[in-house]
C-alpha cells in the first residue's frame, strides 16, 4: 500500500481485513467496519457473526434476495452462507461475552492509550443515548480493532491519553486503524505499526504523547509474511 499519502476508507478496510487470521470468527460493527467484509480473501474461512443471532452471514442482500427476516445488526438485509447457524439473543451475546469471537471491528469517538474505548455517547446532555451491542463487543471479543479517522471534524485527536467521552469498555482495544497510521496498543504503550502520509514524529506532535516507532519492524514482518 502506498505509504506516501493518507489512506482512503476502502484502503483502511483492506488493511484491517489483511490483519484477520484465516478461520477467524469476526463481528464487524455498524458503519465503516462493515466494509471490511468486502476485503476478506476468498477461501479464508473467516466466519462473520451478527449479534442479532447468526453466524455465517453473507454479503448485503439485493433485489430478490432481500428477506425481512434476515438482517444484520445495522438492520440491513443480508444473505446466508453455507454452514450458517441461527440462535437466540442470549446465546448470541453469550458467544460474544464468553470470548469466542476472535476479532471485532468497531468505530470510535475516542480511544485512549490504555485501550479504553468511547464509541456510544458523545456525552451531549440533549443526546438520546443508545448503546446496542457495543459494550458486549468491546468487552467480549478476543481482539478489538478500531477503525476511525485520526481526528474529529474540529481537528481534535481521537487517539487520546484519556477519554473524555463516556466509555464503552475499559482497556479493550488492541489496534487502531486510521487514515494516517496503524497503532498497536498494549499495556499503556502505543506503537506505530505503519504510517501513511505522515512521519512518526508528526504523529507524535499531533497526538501529544510518546509513540514507539514500530514501522521498520512491521514492514519486515509484512514482507516476510508474503
Amino acid at each position: 500500500m502506498d505509504t506516501s499519502r493518507k489512506l482512503t476508507r476502502d484502503e483502511m478496510a483492506r488493511l484491517v481485513a489483511a490483519d484477520i487470521a484465516p478461520g477467524s470468527f469476526v463481528n464487524l460493527g455498524i458503519g465503516q467496519p462493515t466494509t471490511v467484509a468486502n476485503y476478506l480473501p476468498e477461501g479464508s474461512g473467516i466466519v462473520l457473526h451478527t449479534e442479532n443471532g447468526m453466524l455465517g452471514m453473507g454479503p448485503e442482500a439485493h433485489g430478490d434476495e432481500v428477506d425481512p427476516d434476515l438482517i444484520n445488526a445495522g438492520k440491513v438485509p443480508v444473505t446466508e452462507l453455507p454452514g450458517a447457524s441461527y440462535f437466540h439473543h442470549a446465546d448470541s451475546f453469550g458467544m460474544m461475552r464468553g470470548g469466542h469471537l476472535d476479532v471485532c471491528v468497531l468505530g470510535a469517538f475516542q480511544v485512549s492509550v490504555d485501550g479504553d474505548l468511547a464509541n456510544w455517547h458523545t456525552g451531549a446532555p440533549d443526546a438520546i443515548p443508545a448503546v446496542g451491542g457495543a459494550m458486549d463487543l468491546a468487552t467480549g471479543a478476543k481482539a478489538v480493532f478500531v477503525m476511525m479517522n485520526l481526528q474529529d471534524r474540529a481537528g481534535n485527536a481521537k487517539l487520546v491519553r484519556s477519554c473524555t467521552y463516556p466509555l464503552t469498555g475499559v482497556r479493550c482495544v488492541s489496534r487502531v486503524y486510521t487514515e494516517y497510521a496503524v497503532f498497536s496498543l498494549a499495556g499503556g504503550t502505543v506503537t506505530v505499526e505503519q504510517t501513511f502520509g505522515m512521519e512518526v514524529a508528526d504523529l507524535q506532535d499531533l497526538l501529544g504523547f510518546d509513540l514507539i516507532d514500530g514501522t521498520a519492524h512491521s514492514s519486515a514482518v509484512a514482507a516476510s509474511s508474503v
Partner: protein, 229 residues
C-alpha cells in the same frame, strides 16, 4: 395452560394498566406487529415495554408509544434514524428510559426465565451504565451485578407452532423470542402457521410448548413490511 385464539385482540386480553410487556423483535424482524396493534386497541396504559429498540416509523411499537400507553422503555438502542415517535416523547420528558447494553438485556431476560436471581457480567463495567450498580472483581476482571427482567406478558412472533405450543422461528427473526417466552408469566405468540402435533421435529424445536400460553395464527401475507397496520 395453552390456548389458541382467533384474533390478535383475543390473544392480548387481560393485559392491564401498569403491566410489564416483553416485546420480541430486532427492528422489524420478529416484531409481532399485529399483537402490538392489538395491545394498542386494548388500551392498557402505564406500561413498561422491554424491546431492543424503541419503535421504527409510525407503526407497531412506535404507534403504541404514540398512543401514550407507555410509561417506561427498557431497551438497548432507542435512537434510530426513524425513531421520531420515541425521540419526541423522550425530549418532552413524557417517557422514562432504562438503557441496557444489548447483551445484558438478553441475559437479564434469560435469567428471569431460568430462575437466576442475578449475575455478574463484564459488559458495562467501568462505563456510565454501571453507575450505581454493585460491582465485583472476579479473577482480576471487573464485573457488574445485573438483575433478571421478568414480564407479565411477552408478545412474540414465531414461524410455526404445533398444537402443543412448540415453536420454530425464521432466520434472524428468532432474536429475543425464545428468551422472552420463558421470562413472562403469560406468553402470547403470533405465528404464520399452526401445524399438527408431530409436524415439528423434536430435535429442532426452539421454544418448547411449556413456555407458550397463547397462540394466534396471523396469515403471513399481512406480515409483509409496509403493511401499515
Amino acid at each position: 395452560m395453552l390456548s389458541f385464539h382467533e384474533s390478535a385482540d383475543a390473544a392480548v386480553e387481560g393485559i392491564s394498566d401498569g403491566a410489564t410487556i416483553l416485546i420480541g423483535g430486532f427492528g422489524t424482524a420478529g416484531q409481532p406487529i399485529e399483537l402490538i396493534d392489538a395491545l394498542r386497541r386494548n388500551g392498557a396504559k402505564d406500561l413498561t415495554i422491554v424491546n431492543n429498540n424503541a419503535g421504527n416509523g409510525d407503526t407497531g411499537l412506535a404507534a403504541l408509544l404514540g398512543a401514550g400507553q407507555v410509561r417506561k422503555m427498557i431497551c438497548s438502542f432507542p435512537r434510530q434514524s426513524d425513531s421520531h415517535v420515541f425521540d419526541a416523547l423522550y425530549r418532552a420528558g413524557k417517557i422514562e428510559l432504562e438503557l441496557v447494553p444489548q447483551g445484558n438485556l438478553a441475559e437479564r431476560i434469560r435469567a428471569a426465565g431460568a430462575g437466576i436471581g442475578g449475575f455478574f457480567t463484564p459488559t458495562g463495567y467501568g462505563t456510565p451504565l454501571a453507575e450505581g450498580k454493585e460491582t465485583r472483581e472476579i479473577d482480576g476482571r471487573g464485573y457488574v451485578f445485573e438483575r433478571p427482567i421478568h414480564g407479565d406478558f411477552a408478545l412474540i412472533k414465531a414461524l410455526k407452532a404445533d398444537r402443543m405450543g412448540n415453536l420454530v422461528y425464521r432466520k434472524t427473526a428468532r432474536n429475543f423470542g425464545p428468551i422472552m417466552a420463558a421470562a413472562a408469566a403469560t406468553s402470547v405468540v403470533q405465528v404464520a402457521d399452526v401445524v399438527p402435533t408431530g409436524a415439528i421435529d423434536p430435535e429442532s424445536v426452539v421454544t418448547p410448548g411449556i413456555f407458550v400460553n397463547r397462540v394466534v395464527a396471523i396469515s403471513p401475507t399481512s406480515m409483509l413490511p409496509g403493511d401499515g397496520q
